[in-house]
C-alpha cells in the first residue's frame, strides 16, 4: 500500500494524463492501474479534473465549423453505409502466392549445352585426327597405286618390246676383264630403236665421275649410242640413240658424259649378231 502511495506521489500519473510520458512509462502506468484499483481511482480523479479544467478553458469554435466537420465525417459515413460489410481487413485480401515454381529448365538446358559443346569438341578433335590419318593413308595408297601403275606401264612397254617381232634381243657378254657382266638389249632395225633392259644390267656400279657408254659397231666403226648409269634398282627399258644397222654392240666405261671414241681397254661387255 505504501508502494502505491509512493508511486502516486511521484507525479507520473499527472504526466500520464497530460500525455507527457514515454511509451514505456505509458505501458507501466496502464499496467499499474489495471493491478491496483487505488491507482485507477487516482488516475480517474486526475483525468476528471483535467477534463473539467479544459472545459473551464474551452473556446467555442465558430458555428459554421459544426456543419463542415460533421458534413465531412458524414459524407464518409454515407459511403460506409453503402458498404454495410466493413471492408475486410487487409490481411484477408492477401492471398499467399504459391511459392514460385523452381524452374530449372534453363539451368539444365545451359548445363546440357555446355556438356554438348565439350563432347562435340572432343569428337571433332578425334575425327580430325582420324581424318588426317586417313588422308595420310590415302596419300600412301595413291603413291603405291602410282608406283604400281608405273610398274605396270613399264612392264607393258617391256612386254610390248619383247612381243614385237621386229625387236631382236641380244645378250652382251662380259669381256675377259669383267666376265660376270651382262647387259641385255633389244634392237629393232626397222624401228631404229635400241633399248637396254635396265633390270637385267649386271655391271659394277659406276662412280660419279664415270658413266657407261653404249656403242654400235657398224662396218667396224664405233657409233655412240648414249650413256647410262648402272644402278641396282633400275627397272625400266632405257631407250638409247637410234640406229638402223649394227653388227655388234659394246659397252665401255667412259668419263661422265661419254667420249667421242670408245676407250677400248675399258670395254666391259660385247655382243654380236
Amino acid at each position: 500500500m505504501e508502494d502505491i502511495k509512493a508511486y502516486i506521489e511521484t507525479g507520473i500519473l499527472e504526466l500520464y494524463v497530460l500525455g507527457d510520458v514515454t511509451p514505456n512509462e505509458k505501458i507501466e502506468v496502464e499496467e499499474m492501474a489495471l493491478k491496483h484499483p487505488a491507482i485507477k481511482a487516482e488516475l480517474d480523479e486526475i483525468e476528471r479534473s483535467m477534463e473539467l479544467y479544459a472545459k473551464e478553458n474551452a473556446v467555442e469554435p465558430s458555428e459554421h465549423l459544426r456543419g463542415r466537420i460533421l458534413g465531412s465525417i458524414l459524407t464518409n459515413f454515407g459511403d460506409d453505409n453503402n458498404f454495410p460489410e466493413k471492408p475486410h481487413p487487409a490481411q484477408n485480401n492477401i492471398i499467399a502466392l504459391p511459392a514460385p515454381k523452381q524452374n530449372n529448365f534453363y539451368k539444365y538446358a545451359f548445363a546440357a549445352s555446355l556438356a554438348l559443346l565439350v563432347s562435340s569438341s572432343v569428337a571433332l578433335v578425334s575425327v580430325y585426327s582420324r581424318l588426317q590419318q586417313s588422308n595420310g593413308q590415302l596419300v600412301a595408297l595413291q603413291l603405291q597405286n602410282q608406283h604400281f601403275t608405273n610398274r605396270v606401264n613399264l612392264m607393258d612397254r617391256e612386254l610390248s618390246i619383247f612381243r614385237d617381232p621386229s625387236f631382236k634381243l641380244l645378250k652382251l657378254q662380259g669381256t675377259a676383264k669383267t666376265p660376270a657382266s651382262v647387259v641385255t638389249l633389244a634392237f629393232s632395225p626397222t624401228k631404229k630403236k635400241v633399248m637396254i633392259d635396265m633390270s637385267n644390267v649386271k655391271l659394277p656400279q659406276n662412280d660419279s665421275n664415270h658413266q657407261y657408254q653404249l656403242w654400235a659397231l657398224v662396218g667396224g666403226k664405233p657409233v655412240d649410242l648414249g650413256v647410262f648409269d648402272a644402278k641396282a634398282d633400275s627397272t625400266d627399258m632405257k631407250e638409247m640413240k637410234s640406229i638402223a644397222l649394227a653388227d655388234a654392240f659394246a659397252v665401255t666405261l667412259e668419263p661422265k658424259g661419254g667420249s667421242v671414241n670408245p676407250t677400248m681397254d675399258q670395254m666391259v661387255v660385247l655382243g654380236k649378231f
Binding site: G11, S49, E56, N57, V59
Partner: protein, 183 residues
Amino acid sequence: MSKKHKISLSEDELILSLRNHEKIAIEALYDMYSASLYGVISRIVIDTAIAEDVLQETFVKIWHSFSSYSSEKGRLFTWMVNIARNLAIDKIRSKDFKNQNKNQEIENNVTFIDEQNNTVYKPELMGVKDLVQTLKPEQKSIIDLVYFKGYTHVEAADELGIPLGTIKTRLRMGIQQLRKHFN
C-alpha cells in the same frame, strides 16, 4: 447565437454509439467536446483557419480510429485531448506552418488567446474566478504550458528556468488544487 438543441449523452452511451458508428454519436461528440478540444487546439495553433482545420482533423481521426480507444485505459476525453494536442503540435512543427511564420512566442500566447476570445464568456465559466484564486500563478503557468501548449515537463522546465523536480511538484500540486476545486 442560439445554442439550438445540443445533443448530450452519457459517456458510456456515447462510447457505445461511437463503436457502432452511429450518426448520432459524432454529433453528440462534437456538441459535447468541440469547445474543450478547440480550447486546447487554439492555444497551440494561433491562426484561426488552421486551428479550425486541426479541429476537423481531430474529429475525423477520432471517428476513424475509435476502435483503438479502450475505456479501461482511461476517460474518453483524455484520449481525445491527446489526439487534438498531438495534431496541433504536428501542425505547428510542420514545414508549411513554419514557413508561414504564424506562430508566436509562447509567453504571449495564453493571454493573447484569452484576449481574442473574451467575448465568448459562458455560464459554465462562472467559476473561473474562484479557480484563478485557487490556483497559484506558478502552478497555472506550468499546467497551461503542458496541458494547453503541448510542452513536455522537461521543455517547460527549460522555458521557465525552473528545476525539473520543482516543475513536477508544482504540476502535481496544481492538479491537486484543481481536484479540490472541482470536488
